[in-house]
Amino acid sequence: MSRWKADAAIAGLGITEMGKIYGRSAADFAAEAIALALDDAGLAKSEIDGLLINGNGNEHMTPYLQMTLGFEDLTMLNVMSAAGSTVGAMIQYAALALDAGVVNNVVLLYADAPLQENVGGGAAYAKRGQWHGMNGLRGAYGEFGGNPPYALAARRHMHLYGTTSEQFGAIAVAQRKWAQMNPRAQMTKPMTLEDHQSSRMVVDPFHLFDCCLVSNGAVAVIMTTAERARQLRQPPVYVKAAAQAAPGDNQRTGRDPGLNTGAKRASELAFSLAGITRDDVDILELYDCYTYTVLVTLEDYGYCEKGEGGAFVEDGKLGPGGALPTNTGGGQLSSYYMWGFTPLSEAVIQARGQAGERQVERNDVVVASGNGGVLNFHSTTVLSKHAA
């Protein structure tokens, strides 16, 4: 029985070209994604009165993006910030606000342009002079970027439960198969488990193919009320529930979000609000900054016991033809890395029935996750093509 009262839907989706595209700013990509989404929905720019921006550290992702984009007379404007989990919070906020009548048509936006020509990632992190206070220890110890802390969590999982690198590989291989059917995917070269295992070590236990892509580009989603969505161009994708969870940590024993993530509470809450169980879910779009992130999310969503995630994914059930289609566009590992807007965009495409060769036949209930920090922040969104 659904407890979620807000009757809102996704009516527009805009996805730019993705990847190593140089010479364009995040603001430029953002404008294009919004233009694409407006055209997709059949809405005029002047009809947009809400703008939610996923804060991601890019210099353009501020409230002043409103001016750069030329939006006027907004009644909702915010940069929201909970790392990769923000997408679910944005959807939640927009849905509740639409239902309350404080706004009519909301753009939800992710844009970034971290890749620059001739600049490698490593050197940028180790710039001297940035390392103040306790944060300076990370520079002294060589803890740069997201790879080490996620790898530390994965290694602990392997130690406690016997999870193997090959099991992480099964996730990468399954997702690459989906990516091969996605015209937008950055990586479509066939990948075998052997390819995964022989890909270079990045931060052991993570091979290259355990780690997500980096992309320049943008994704924009337009949300409106369910009733208004039905009058627009695309089949509405109804928001059945959106929930967040942040279990906390403070680096004390007794809590380890790297192993027991916010996915448990967020999914429990989202499924309860939507009036569904995990058995009702046809398609999963799970935030996959690393293969490990998918594995631990599946455990915490209750698809298998804690520690059994490796065995659960080993048989390839996440891939095309499998029992639990997951990351059906290739995910962040193989398609593009737009934080939570990667799983969200594919969820919308699948729910609409517009996924072409990679369309999953049963697409009544689609779930998209968001994840951020080091597995500290989670969001779960339940979507459906069915109004009721």
């Binding site: 180790a126 001297r128 206070g133 790879n147 080490p148 602990r156 403070n250």
Partner: protein, 139 residues
């Protein structure tokens, strides 16, 4: 083989600030300083202004025992200025119940075992700054 001095000098050096000064001063005199709540006794990783357990403002700096257990470790294969790759990055948990990331010295990666006992050592990373690191307890 240790990196040569000029290579290591390329590493980022922590810049202690007012809030973290007791931590770095402690390291300079050979003490691992954490914070402890006077009200409930909980230890916490600095810098906190209120106890993370009971929210009391009575938080003080206190020397930790210097022991630790290897909670997890990884081997970094990415190249960063000043770091001789591959190198180890570890998560250590102290008997006081505080968990943090740090370097392991005095052992090769293939000698490390999660659960092994460690002890704190102190390493000068510049003329002015000392940081704690951990090495396996010699049995």
């Amino acid at each position: 083989m240790p990196p040569d001095a000029s290579e290591q000098s390329q590493r980022p050096v922590p810049v202690p600030d007012e809030a973290s000064a007791p931590f770095f001063a402690g390291a300079a005199r050979g003490e691992l300083m954490l914070q402890r709540c006077r009200a409930c006794g909980a230890f916490m990783w600095p810098v906190k202004s209120r106890c993370v357990e009971c929210f009391s403002a009575e938080v003080e700096w206190a020397a930790a025992s210097g022991g630790g257990e290897l909670y997890s470790f990884v081997v970094v294969h990415q190249r960063y200025p000043g770091f001789d790759e591959p190198y180890v990055l570890a998560t250590v948990v102290t008997p006081e119940g505080v968990r943090f990331n740090t370097s392991i010295v005095g052992a090769d990666p293939d000698e490390l075992r999660i659960g092994m006992q460690l002890t704190v050592v102190f390493d000068s990373v510049s003329d002015d700054v000392v940081v704690p690191k951990f090495e396996p307890v010699q049995s």
